[in-house]
């Protein structure tokens, strides 16, 4: 069993038994379902919109090399500087070098899951920089010393009282249970940090090839301050975020908001094109973009699962996933939680270590139905399981299924096996058998009928 799997089983078991926390998460998502359905109903045809969104991403991903070249040429024409990073280490080194080159001391960040993926904060802090997350949820998680619970709602699992305590401890503020007051505490704390920061680090929701612009979507306005106030702006993005045309955003931006958060549009949608130009009153002196591969090209090379690169990180699949809702986001142990994380993490970080996430699913398919860009999520979990079996089958699985296959091909043996199973079921229930005892810990099995269907059919007039 891989280390990651052992930790997963331990954490998932603990969380699945925590009824209060599970109820809290369900309640937190309750309003989202209502709003999402309201907003979906405003589309003339949500399913056709999904087709359009999926096509926009398909077109970009299946022509990725050309679109990236086009994007970077236009981005540079706007005055930006592009850096290519093959993996996390390269991306961290690039950002550390920029920070050293510009004599930075303080760094402010807006929400960027790609920076979680490359463990950027650790690297920056180790190098002596002060780093502050400016997204409220990320700020709270940073104070808690915990990774994001959900890649769109980072602290959805934290109760208001706990946030108040956290602020009292770290910021010395008076306790309060008012969400507005808590937000204002964070805002007052963060305002000066934008002004003091030398570098603002953001993510990117979309890279628009035809204009060379970066599209960033946010609800708090903190990304605008992060991108505009410090003298250096560094954006970090996976290479798959590219879209061909500005028009593609007309469908992708509202769908991102509706599918992910139940909003008609996210509050702030900003396009960034290059650093401050002569005569402009704000914007950074330098605008860097770090484009990260980190095994995305490996996924690109797999025609079966390439559509996982369509992902716009809306989080809709997490919000509907019964696994996510019952084990929580931290149990995954990954940057990207939920169904999309279970699909792509084995590609990004190794199938052998991470295939258990693909197995830990009932394959209910709610994620696939929720995905605004039509990623075939739950079937990809099946594909990962198949690939893992090919790569390194466990002995138990091999023997179990070889035996099952042997019996499956022999109807007489199959029928005999059934008879023996029925006759011995009361005994089997008492033995410490794998699978059987796990089932019986929380659930009963029906009383064995006296005869199987095939025997009853044979005995009756039909046979």
């Amino acid at each position: 069993m891989s280390d990651a799997k052992q930790i997963f089983i331990k954490d998932a078991t603990l969380n699945a038994a925590d009824g209060d926390q599970r109820a809290f998460i369900r309640k937190a998502l309750g309003g989202y379902y209502v709003n999402r359905d309201l907003q979906k109903a405003r589309y003339r045809d949500w399913e056709r919109a999904r087709d359009a969104a999926s096509l926009a991403k398909w077109t970009a991903v299946n022509d990725l090399a050309n679109q990236l070249e086009k994007f970077t040429a236009n981005f540079e024409r706007n005055g930006g500087i592009v850096h290519w990073a093959r993996d996390s280490a390269e991306a961290r080194a690039i950002i550390l070098k920029i920070a050293a080159d510009v004599n930075a001391k303080a760094i402010v960040k807006s929400k960027c899951m790609t920076s979680e993926e490359i463990h950027l904060n650790d690297a920056l802090e180790k190098a002596g920089y002060g780093v502050v997350e400016s997204d409220l949820g990320e700020f709270i998680q940073q104070l808690r010393g915990e990774p994001p619970y959900h890649f769109v709602f980072p602290c959805m699992h934290v109760k208001r009282e706990a946030i108040s305590e956290l602020f009292t401890k770290h910021l010395g503020t008076a306790p309060t249970d008012s969400p507005e007051e808590l937000t204002m505490i964070a805002r007052r704390h963060l305002r000066q940090l934008y002004v003091d920061a030398d570098i603002g680090i953001t993510g990117a929701n979309f890279l628009v090839a035809e204009t060379g612009q970066i599209s960033i979507t946010e609800n708090e306005g903190n990304a605008r301050l992060t991108a505009a106030l410090p003298r250096i702006h560094i954006a970090l993005s996976g290479i798959e975020k590219v879209v061909n045309r500005l028009d593609d955003l007309a469908v992708l931006l509202p769908m991102l908001a509706t599918a992910g958060a139940g909003q008609p549009m996210t509050c702030y949608n900003t396009l960034y094109a290059g650093p401050r130009k002569p005569g402009e009153c704000d914007g950074p002196e330098q605008f860097h973009l770090v484009l990260l591969d980190n095994a995305r090209t490996r996924l690109l090379a797999d025609p079966e699962q390439r559509d996982a690169l369509h992902c716009i990180r809306c989080g809709a699949c997490l919000n509907v996933c019964p696994i996510f809702k019952n084990i929580g986001g931290l149990a995954y142990g990954t940057t990207y939680q939920g169904p999309i994380g279970s699909v792509i993490t084995p590609h990004l970080r190794g199938l052998k270590q991470w295939n258990h996430l693909s197995s830990a699913s009932s394959l209910c398919g709610a994620c696939t139905d929720a995905c605004p860009v039509r990623i075939d999520l739950h079937h990809h979990l099946l594909h990962n399981r198949r690939n893992a079996m090919k790569q390194s089958p466990s002995l138990f699985d091999r023997v179990f299924h070889a035996g099952f296959g042997f019996v499956m091909k022999r109807p007489a043996l199959f029928a005999l096996g059934g008879k023996v199973f029925l006759a011995t079921l009361p005994l089997l229930k008492k033995l410490p058998l794998p699978y059987m005892s796990a089932w019986l810990k929380t659930r009963d099995l029906p009383v064995a009928p006296p005869k199987s269907f095939r025997d009853q059919w044979k005995d009756s007039a039909h046979g």
Partner: protein, 239 residues
Amino acid sequence: MRVSLFVPCFVDQLAPQVGLATAKVLKRLGHDVEFRAEQTCCGQPSFNSGQWDVAREGAIRALQVFRGAEVVVGPSGSCVAMIKKFYPELLKDTPHLAAAEDLAARTFEFSEFLVNQLGVTDVGAKFAKKVTYHDGCHALRELRLKEEPRQLLRAVKGLELIESEEGESCCGFGGLFSAKFPMISTAMVQVKGGALARTGADFVVSSDPSCLLQIGGWLSREGKPILPLHIAEVLAHDA
């Protein structure tokens, strides 16, 4: 029409009454029903465990077993989805693909067959009970069956259909998932089973016996006063 029954292996062993009820309803509607005893398992446990080579052998066997059958009808959305959706995927690079697609086109889940193929919603059943319906995920999302079973239930004399919260939530069965990750599976059935019990219905009805195994197993353990029942068993009750 001559209907060939496709009886899932755990129905064969643990819920034979579901297979018998399916046959009874089809006969009542005037169809010939056969059961080809060489059938075994559709191979889904191996397919879902990533053992596609083992599952493929099972699929090829099933193609032989059901060769020449006019229609194949199974009382399980999950096992029927295996034939209709996953056999063609399993066999796509093999000489068996055409046969797999042919079988897929002739195979139907029980409520799908009644409503969409035969155009029947009233099968002449009477069942004066309160029931709630559980959508199995394979029937709902692989086969896109939602209204079909409800149309059948609404036409049953005396039956009151109550929808539950968490209507489209998974029960947490997922085949071997339920035993490999029992803690997650149990948390899921707590959510689902709790919502079903709160409807106050006498029975939870489904077109999927595997979901009923999970839901029924948990309801029984928790002592909840609501019993699992397959839709074929409801429809088999004579008027």
